[in-house]
């Protein structure tokens, strides 16, 4: 609930601007002043062939999501309240894996990190430059928490397509690979189609 409160404050603060831009025809579909009926977003076009990154442990996103139906936000829990989605703390992995699949080599490696109190040195795959202010919090509010289609039927299969807009379908991958170009034009194409803000300083501040 805190999240929504925060977001409302922000909408209140900049609402006048959004309204002004709306009148000027800059924004055509959505604005803070007038919510549109929610539906699945129109995914941005464009693809990218990313590198296969050798992670310290080849974490199987597919087993967790497609097979075991664990919601993305169960592990990437910071995404709803921060600009970053966050990597789950090792303690969260061990919450299950102290008993589940303990005979698997990847879990044994995980347990070794945990026993040695060594955090896992994951390698970063998705990033935007420092001059871009991207926040997961705002995007999740728009496309998940304010979206009845997701919220009325909350499961990994309604959430994952939202994440997939930028990260590709994680239900079909082990470790992350960059599948989208993550360029400004690509961001803007989505903002245009889904009524995101079009002013420069929203992202460049």
């Amino acid at each position: 609930m805190q999240l929504i409160g925060t977001s409302r404050t922000r909408a209140g603060r900049y609402g006048w601007l959004a309204a002004a831009l709306c009148m000027a025809g800059v924004l055509n579909t959505a604005s803070a002043a007038e919510p549109v009926s929610m539906q699945y977003p129109i995914a941005p076009q464009g693809s990218y062939k990313g590198l296969d990154v050798q992670q310290p442990i080849e974490f199987p996103h597919d087993i967790h999501t497609a097979v075991n139906k664990i919601n993305c936000l169960y592990c990437h829990t910071y995404a709803r309240q921060s600009k970053v989605a966050g990597i789950p703390p090792t303690s969260k992995c061990m919450g299950c894996h102290s008993v589940i699949a303990t005979d698997k080599p990847r879990i044994q490696k995980l347990t070794e990190y945990w026993t040695n109190k060594q955090p896992i040195p994951w390698l970063k795959v998705h990033d935007v430059p420092d001059f871009v202010h991207f926040t997961h919090e705002r995007h999740l509010k728009r496309f998940i928490f304010d979206n009845p289609e997701v919220m009325n039927n909350l499961s990994v299969d309604t959430v994952a397509p939202v994440c997939a807009m930028c990260h590709g379908d994680m239900r079909a991958k082990t470790v992350a690979r960059k599948d989208k170009p993550m360029t400004m034009g690509w961001c803007v194409s989505c903002h245009e189609k889904n009524g995101g803000p079009g002013d420069c300083w929203k992202c460049h501040k």
Binding site: G86, P88, K117, W122
Partner: protein, 738 residues
């Protein structure tokens, strides 16, 4: 709340790996790997917490309270911490000193902390070159040279520090006592002369000033918005002062300061003649029936406006006008700045200015008692220049075997005439407790890197106390370089070696400080509050309000008052004004790129030094802006580019203090010139303070010209577009009533 991470027993490497989304590039910036910042996949590490901290959300900042240490004013700060790193500093709104504001030096504090030129490990000088040694070796060496077994005689060990206060000052005193040593406190930018006058005149060195209550402020070069006493505090006082009914600010100084630029009336005065003007005003006031204090009775007869105009260069009409304004606008506040204090007759000059306050009835109105600080052992021990001279003499006389430096760079700030670098060779073991490779460290035998103020514990009781307060300083993040002690920890280590029975109880300075704070009398906490709850509340607030008992301030008679006019003309026709700035300060902030980059408040120059000269002086010398001048005193010469403007007296040449470092890292080195180098070693007779603003120089064009880089070239021309609307000075004076 304190940073829990600090208490975790973790190795350095593990700590780094704990730091959430901090990228490898950022977290390892000061470590063994080169900085890597890239958008490429699979290049940067992104390391999760082992176990999440309840309050720490990656990407979301948490603010902690602490105390600024960029100058001695002791402003309260809040620091934004994200993923274990401090990112932004702001003023603490609850602080009675700065009321939530923070100056640019305070803002640039993060660049002191993250500075790439910090020492990371102890170094020992062997055959002239510094070699890395381990922390164990370093402490062992110090123990060998200064421990009980070294059997140092009385006064053989000396500490040279900047202004100290709080529990660090108490521990320092304890160490000095334990080794029977000596302490020198040195600051270049110091109100020491004013404090001496106050002591004699009011019986206390630091009375409280109420600018907000004054109807008129007459400042003899007191740059209270920039560099004087507690500038951020006086900026808020000034805002009150300017509210309706608007107070009148008159600034009289040889070179325009930030405060001067804000004055209703700015008057250039011949350097060193501030005392004569003060006496001239006293004369005019006496003529109009205001009773003069005894000390002035026999003196002011000689200071008729016609004579004073001749001495000061301020016209008779102006003197009459100023006296009239002072008489009509009561209460007023008359302030002596550094330029008035830093004279061969600094004491008399300052006394003449302060006596105007007595004469005008300001004592008890805009100047009240500063009161008695309840914990004298924590009160500020302000640095001065008298101690610098005393230390240089002691070094010359081989009076010390060991010297420790902390928070001070005397080799840079001492005039060349004191010959300090050479004299230091007489001291066999010199230890620099320092963050940076500065000029003093370059002369030292052992370098002990210390924590930045954002990594250190401490308490601060600034000398100027608008309302009794002890600022609490807590680390805003784990130390970047393992092993680097704060001052408190260094002192505790030294004291433990001397007296394990007394000091062995504390593992670290944090423990000492926590016990010291929780041992304060019960009146400082709410009823029934536990030690832990009280300590947490102090940490949360970043400060502790203390009750200061204050009585009525009474002026005492001064005696032996005698003032003569300084020399003019001769081989050295100009007076050098090494003007302090709310940027480089005494040179300590010249290694902060933000400070170098910020345009100077008066000249808009960046990344450089300059010499401010009056257009008439420039015409006489035949120079234009950017012409390189050689400024020579009897003690040496510096080369500086000319900056020509009217905000300087024709007999003065002003060069900002703080540039001209030979060392001190990549941002400061070989940039501009250091005017302190060429000062004559003349002191004020009464206080022994250096006459910083009394050196006569000559300026000669070298024939070389370089562009003076400044923000807004041609900044006087508006290209006929009325970019900033103006009115004439006469019209302004009519509307502003000056």
């Amino acid at each position: 709340m304190e940073l829990t991470m600090i208490n975790l027993k973790l190795k350095r490497r593990e700590f780094l790996q704990l730091m959430g989304w901090g990228t490898a590039g950022a977290t390892l910036a000061g470590c063994d790997l080169p900085t890597t910042v890239t958008l490429e996949e699979g290049k940067e590490e992104v390391v999760a917490y082992l176990s999440p901290e309840e309050y720490a959300i990656p990407g979301v900042g948490v603010w902690y309270a602490s105390t600024c240490a960029q100058c001695a004013a002791g402003c309260g700060i809040h620091g934004r911490v994200r993923e274990g790193r401090v990112l932004k500093l702001e003023g603490n709104p609850d602080s009675p000193i700065n009321h939530g504001k923070l100056c640019q030096m305070g803002q640039a504090g993060v660049q002191n902390h993250y500075n790439p030129d910090r020492y990371t490990s102890p170094k020992l000088r062997r055959d002239g070159a510094l070699v890395d040694i381990t922390w164990d070796e370093a402490w062992k060496l110090i123990e060998e040279k200064t421990g009980a077994a070294a059997n140092l005689g009385a006064g053989r060990l000396a500490w040279v520090t900047g202004t100290l206060s709080g529990h660090q000052a108490a521990l320092m005193a304890a160490h000095i006592e334990a080794v029977n040593g000596k302490h020198y406190g040195h600051e270049v930018i110091t109100p020491a002369v004013w404090q001496a006058v106050n002591k004699d005149l009011f019986g206390e060195a630091m009375p409280r000033l109420h600018l907000s209550k004054a109807k008129l402020a007459l400042s003899f070069g007191a740059d209270f918005l920039g560099t004087w006493l507690s500038p951020v505090h006086f900026s808020t006082e000034y805002a009150q002062f300017r509210k309706a009914p608007r107070g009148i600010l008159i600034q009289v100084e040889p070179a325009m300061s930030l405060t001067g630029a804000n004055a209703d009336l700015w008057l250039a005065i011949r350097p060193g003649t501030e005392g004569a003007l003060a006496l001239g005003l006293a004369y005019m006031l006496a003529q109009n029936g205001v009773a003069a204090p005894d000390a002035l009775q026999g003196v002011i007869g000689d200071y008729a406006p016609s004579k004073v105009a001749g001495i000061t260069g301020v016209s008779e009409a102006r003197i009459t006008q100023l006296a009239e304004l002072l008489r009509k606008h009561a209460p007023s506040l008359v302030l002596p700045g550094y330029t008035a204090q830093g004279q061969a007759q600094g004491y008399e000059t300052t006394a003449a200015i302060m006596l105007l306050n007595v004469m005008l009835g300001n004592v008890g109105q805009t100047i009240t008692s500063g009161g008695e600080f309840p914990f004298p052992q924590l009160a500020a021990k302000s640095g001065n220049t008298r101690d610098l001279i005393a230390f240089a003499d002691a070094a010359h006389n081989k009076a010390h075997d060991v010297v420790f430096f902390y928070g001070v760079n005397p080799v840079f700030t001492a005039p060349a005439a004191l010959n300090l670098a050479d004299r230091l060779k007489n001291i066999p073991f010199k230890v620099a407790f320092t963050q940076f490779p500065d000029e003093t460290a370059a002369q030292c035998d052992l370098i002990m890197p210390v924590a930045s103020y954002l990594e250190d514990w401490g308490t601060h009781a600034p000398a100027y106390q608008p309302d009794g307060v002890i600022g609490l300083q807590q680390p805003l993040m784990e130390t970047l370089y393992p092993g680097t002690p704060g001052l408190g920890d260094a002192l505790l280590t030294l004291l433990k070696a001397r007296d394990a029975g007394k000091y062995g109880a504390w593992n670290n300075y944090y423990g000492y400080l926590k016990q010291a704070v929780t041992s304060l009398p019960a009146q400082y906490r709410s009823a029934g509050q536990s030690d832990e709850a009280f300590w947490q509340s102090v940490l949360q607030k970043g400060q502790l309000k203390v009750e200061v008992k204050s009585g009525a301030l009474q002026a005492k008679p001064l005696s032996g008052f005698n003032l003569s006019a300084p020399a003019t003309g001769g081989d050295y026709p100009l007076t050098l004004i090494p003007s302090p700035r709310l940027s480089f300060w005494d040179g300590r902030h010249a290694n902060l790129p933000w400070i170098q980059e910020a345009p100077d408040q008066i000249t808009k120059v960046v990344w450089d030094s300059w010499a401010e000269i009056h257009p008439a002086t420039a015409a006489r010398l035949g120079v234009e802006e950017g012409d390189v001048l050689e400024i020579a005193s009897e003690q040496g010469a510096i080369k500086v580019k000319a900056f020509i403007h009217k905000g300087v007296h024709p007999d003065a040449i002003a060069v900002p203090m703080g540039q001209g470092h030979d060392d001190y890292g990549r941002y400061a080195r070989n940039r501009g010139a250091n005017p302190l180098r060429i000062l004559n070693p003349v002191t004020d007779a009464k206080t022994g303070e250096l006459a910083l603003y009394g050196t006569r120089v000559k300026a000669t064009p070298t024939g070389e010209r370089q562009m003076l880089v400044k923000a807004g070239r041609d900044n006087i021309s508006q290209r006929g577009r009325k970019l900033a609307a103006t009115i004439s000075a006469e019209q302004f004076r009519r509307t502003e009533g000056v």
